[in-house]
C-alpha cells in the first residue's frame, strides 16, 4: 500500500555543468543561460535517442571546456560537427516534429556557444 505521508520529492543531483553554470555571474546572459538550461533538460529527457545523445555530448564538452581540457576553438569545431550530423536527422523528421527537433538540437547548440564564452 502506498504511504499516505508527504510525497517524497526526488532530489535532483546537481551536475558538474549545473555547478559551472551557477558560477556565471554575468547578468547580461541570465536569460540565455536560463533558456539553455531549460532546453538542455528537455533534450536530455527526450524520447529520441539522437536528441538525448546530442545533449549529453554538448554537456560533456562544456564541462571539458570549463576544465580547460579543450579550448574554445575545439568546442566550436565540435558544435559544427554536431550541427552537420543533426541537419540530416532534422530533415528526416515529419514536418510537425521538425520545429521541436530543431529547438532541442540546433537551437541548444547555438545558445551553447554564447554560454561557453561566459563559462571560460
Amino acid at each position: 500500500m502506498p504511504s499516505a505521508g508527504k510525497p517524497k520529492r526526488k532530489k535532483h543531483k546537481k551536475s558538474e555543468l549545473d555547478s559551472a553554470l551557477g558560477q556565471i555571474s554575468d547578468e547580461s546572459i541570465a536569460a540565455t543561460k536560463e533558456e539553455f538550461q531549460d532546453l538542455l533538460s528537455q533534450a536530455k529527457g527526450d524520447t529520441s535517442e539522437l536528441i538525448r545523445q546530442n545533449a549529453e555530448e554538448l554537456e560533456r564538452r562544456l564541462v571539458l571546456l570549463k576544465k580547460r581540457k579543450i579550448d574554445k576553438e575545439d568546442f566550436d569545431f565540435f558544435v559544427e560537427n554536431q550541427k552537420r550530423d543533426l541537419r540530416v536527422f532534422i530533415d528526416s523528421q515529419p514536418a510537425q516534429q521538425q520545429e521541436r527537433a530543431e529547438k532541442l538540437t540546433l537551437r541548444v547548440l547555438e545558445i551553447a556557444a554564447k554560454v561557453a564564452i561566459a563559462l571560460i
Binding site: 555530448e57 571539458l64 581540457k69 576553438e73 559544427e80 560537427n81 552537420r84 550530423d85 540530416v88
Partner: protein, 134 residues
C-alpha cells in the same frame, strides 16, 4: 490448360528475377558497408597518428596522409553503386576535410590535448554509425 501453364511460368520467372535482384542488392550493400567501415578505420588511424599531445608536427607526412584520404574518399564516391548513398559519402568526406583542417591548425601549434583526440574519435564513430543507419 496451356494458358495456365504459361501464366505459372511467367509468375515463376518474375519471382526468380525478384529473388535474384534482392540477392544482388544485399551483396552490393554489404560491399558498400565494407567501404564505409574501411573509411572509418582510415580516419580513426589518421587521428591516432596526428592527434598526439606533444608530438612534433610533420607537415609532409600530414599532407601525404590527407592526399591519401582524399583519394580514398573520391574513389569510394565514384565506385558507389547506390546513388542514394553518394550524398552520405560526400557528407563523410566533409567530416574528413573538417577533421583534417582542425587537426592541422591545432597540431601545427602544439595545441593537441588528450580530450581533443578522444572527442574527435567519438564524433567519427558517431557519424559513421549514422551513415550505416545504426
Amino acid at each position: 490448360m496451356n494458358s495456365k501453364l504459361v501464366s505459372r511460368n511467367v509468375l515463376l520467372f518474375a519471382a526468380a528475377i525478384f529473388i535474384a535482384s534482392c540477392g544482388t542488392a544485399t551483396f552490393t550493400k554489404t560491399g558498400s558497408d565494407a567501404t564505409i567501415e574501411s573509411l572509418r578505420n582510415f580516419e580513426l588511424a589518421f587521428i591516432d597518428q596526428f592527434a598526439v599531445p606533444g608530438k612534433k608536427f610533420n607537415a609532409a607526412a600530414f599532407n601525404a596522409k590527407v592526399n591519401e584520404g582524399n583519394a580514398k574518399f573520391q574513389q569510394a564516391i565514384a565506385d558507389e553503386k547506390f546513388t542514394a548513398r553518394r550524398p552520405v559519402l560526400v557528407n563523410l568526406k566533409g567530416q574528413f576535410d573538417a577533421d583534417a583542417a582542425h587537426l592541422q591548425s591545432k597540431a601545427s601549434r602544439g595545441k593537441i590535448t588528450p580530450a581533443l583526440a578522444t572527442e574527435m574519435k567519438n564524433d567519427v564513430n558517431k557519424t559513421y554509425d549514422h551513415a550505416l543507419g545504426r
